[in-house]
């Protein structure tokens, strides 16, 4: 046995420990790479099987459950019916499946978008999440519009607004459940005078112009704020319930 003493030995030990650590990180990284690769193979295969063997999978209830579990673990969409002949007439599973996927996309993004999404953006996200194969990429905007029509039966909880030529915006949260206006109120109550402008809101909340405009118009429509167009710049919106000194007045009265 070689005895290790002195400063040199300590340094050497340190060096060795570092090397081990590096190696450990290396191994971990290569393992992650392996796993990712395996997952990709899994994904491709599951997508392929979901497409090819849909009916056989449906028939066997035990296997169906297992297949779904695999899809959940790997993040594959089991719904992959192609746009067949019948779907032109609005029949078949294609548009129903698509409508589920459309709601998926909206729900997943709601916490950021507040329930409003442009159709192009929706399509981009939908395609990205649907899968890699070319069949999944062929979803047109018209397909999506057709799919959302299936949801019309649920009242106006899920609506597509036409903004202009070929431009649509999808609203996935009904007004009753939308927190947009409440958020504007919170933003306004953080100001000193209880007044906000559109640009200010867009800055503070990070919202798009359309989203801000819609929400402000709604608040105005509900009679909860006053609009002031006297300034040279953009109009400002005042909230009477947030006027400074309102509470003081109450106390005095």
């Amino acid at each position: 046995m070689r005895r290790r003493v002195g400063l040199g030995a300590i340094q050497q030990q340190k060096l060795a420990a570092e090397k081990y650590k590096d190696k450990g990180a290396d191994i971990q990284e290569s393992q992650l790479e392996q796993m990712t690769k395996q997952m990709d193979v899994f994904r491709i295969k599951l997508e392929e099987f979901a497409m090819k063997h849909k009916d056989d999978i449906r028939k066997n209830s035990q296997f169906r459950k297992q297949f779904q579990e695999m899809c959940a673990a790997i993040g594959v969409d089991p719904l992959a019916t192609g746009k067949g002949f019948w779907s032109v007439l609005g029949m078949g599973d294609f548009y129903y499946e698509l409508s589920v996927q459309v709601v998926d996309v909206c729900l997943a993004a709601n916490h950021k978008t507040g329930g409003l999404m442009e159709l192009d953006e929706l399509r981009r996200r939908l395609i990205a999440a649907r899968g890699q194969s070319p069949m999944h990429q062929e979803i047109t905007k018209e397909d999506i519009l057709m799919a959302t029509k299936k949801l019309n039966i649920f009242g106006n909880g899920f609506v597509v607004h036409k903004l202009g030529k070929g431009k649509y915006i999808v609203q996935s949260i009904p007004g009753e459940l939308s927190m947009e206006e409440t958020n504007i109120l919170s933003a306004a109550s953080n100001t000193e005078s209880g007044c906000v402008t559109q640009n200010q809101l867009m800055n503070d909340l990070g919202w798009t112009e359309y989203r801000t405009k819609c929400a402000l118009e709604k608040v105005l429509g509900e009679g909860l704020c006053w609009i002031d167009r006297q300034t040279d710049e953009e109009p400002s919106y005042w909230f009477p319930s947030l006027f400074p000194g309102r509470n003081a007045q109450l106390v005095a009265a």
Binding site: I27, L32, Q34, T36, Q38, M39, V41, F42, F49, K52, K54, I57, R58, N60, S61, Q62, R64, K65, F67, E69, M70, A72, A73, I74, G75, P78, E97, V100, V103, V105, C106, L107, A109, A128, A129, L151, I153, F154, G155, N156, G157, F158, S172, P174, G175, E176, L177, M179, E181, T182, L185, S186, S189, E222, G223, L224, F239, P240, S241, F243
Partner: protein
């Protein structure tokens, strides 16, 4: 013949029954043996031979692990009366040194034959072929290796060599590499064909979960795509046996049980969502949980109309439809709201919305409900709409 061992005819874990045949005789090489007129049972892992009834009793019978089988072939001979019959020839690997005792200790033949009075049934033959090509026994072995890591024990003879290889960082790396390779092969194998995947489904489910949980451990998420993550979450809440129309004779019964299933499924999510969920949301969740058994919006709406328990369908004046918990019932809401108003002395719509963290429309609706039931009074001025406790009716409450 010396590859057979005496074993109880019981299925092991992850082993399933595949096929059986009667009146089967075993040949050791080309020699007839005393094992005639028996029953063979094929499982995903092994082949059993027993006297009639023995296998059903789970008695001790002859057992051949399928891992011994190198390949299959067949020979055709003349049958006793007329026509021809086929015998199956199984070519085997050399016996394992630590094999359990069997009917024959030594044998020169490296193959056995299965034969019957009229040959073996076509079904059994093709089942055997498929099972052998599926190689299910390998998968369970391999997935055990993944779980148990280095514990898997192989032959004693090459154990020493292995220990040498395994030591040190190089050994660890080699080991990991070998495991990854085995997993790769398993995946490739399982997805050859749907029937193979079905046979190996249990292991593949385990493997897929294993992979995704490991990736989650290291990367945090399985995908950068929000939609994919959300989808995979919804899918993971799957239900075992979705109610389908085929099982019902009447529409009413169908919609009723559908409603019940929806109720069970959504009670918790709706609670998490603050007591309300829009129908589009419901549609997506229900269908994701059902997996392949899609429900049309029409059927869903019909079922929701039947809901009559802790969850109910509600239509807002705007036309929007939601499912809501019973706790959101008008009466209860009115009482709750009037209490809020009394606490604050007076409340405007926007104040209530902020206080409860709900939308303006809902807050307004709540106040109007309370007003309609006489709990609060309104004060409409140029400053907007405010609500006060209704002292005209409930003066003595304080």
């Amino acid at each position: 013949m010396n590859r057979f061992a005496y074993q109880e005819a019981r299925l092991g874990e992850s082993e399933t029954f595949v096929s059986r045949d009667r009146n089967v005789k075993i040949y050791d090489g080309d020699q007839k043996t005393e094992f005639a007129d028996g029953e063979v049972v094929l499982t995903t892992h092994r082949l059993f031979w027993g006297r009639p009834g023995e296998i059903a009793r789970a008695a001790v019978t002859l057992c051949l692990p399928l891992s011994y089988v190198v390949s299959l072939s067949e020979e055709t001979t003349a049958s006793n009366f007329f026509g021809r019959k086929t015998r199956i020839i199984m070519h085997l690997r050399p016996p394992n040194p630590n094999k359990a005792p069997g009917p024959l200790d030594t044998s020169r033949a490296a193959h056995i034959k299965l034969s019957g009075k009229n040959g073996l049934s076509v079904e059994f033959h093709s089942a055997l072929r498929e099972t052998l090509s599926a190689r299910v026994w390998e998968i369970s072995l391999a997935s055990e290796t993944i779980v148990r890591g280095a514990e898997s024990v192989a032959n004693v003879s090459d154990r020493l060599a292995r220990i040498q290889k395994r030591t040190g960082i190089g050994g660890i790396e080699r080991n990991l590499e070998a495991k990854a390779k085995a997993t790769d092969e398993n995946i490739a194998l399982a997805f050859q064909d749907l029937s193979v995947l079905m046979a190996m489904a249990k292991d593949m489910v385990g493997l897929s979960k294993n992979i995704s949980s490991k990736i989650r451990e290291q990367k945090g998420e399985i995908s950068d795509d929000e939609t994919v993550r959300f989808k995979s979450y919804l899918l993971s809440l799957g239900i075992d046996d979705p109610v389908t129309r085929d099982n019902f004779t009447s529409n009413t019964a169908y919609f009723n049980s559908l409603a019940q299933q929806i109720c069970e499924m959504l009670l918790d999510p709706i609670e998490e969502h603050g007591g309300m969920m829009s129908l589009a949301d419901v549609y997506c969740r229900v269908n994701r949980a059902r997996g392949f058994e899609l429900l049309s919006p029409e059927d869903l709406l019909h079922a929701c109309e039947q809901l009559n328990g802790p969850i109910k369908l509600r239509r807002f004046p705007s036309g929007a439809m939601v499912l809501q918990l019973e706790s959101q019932d008008d009466e209860l809401i009115a009482i709750d709201t009037s209490e809020k108003v009394r606490e604050a002395e007076s409340l405007a719509v926007e104040e209530l919305a902020k206080q409860l963290g709900i939308s303006l429309l809902l807050a307004k609706e709540r106040l109007l409900v309370a007003e309609r039931l006489g709990k609060v009074c309104r004060d409409e001025s140029v400053e907007g709409l405010r609500f006060y406790a209704n002292l005209l009716l409930f003066r003595d409450i304080d």
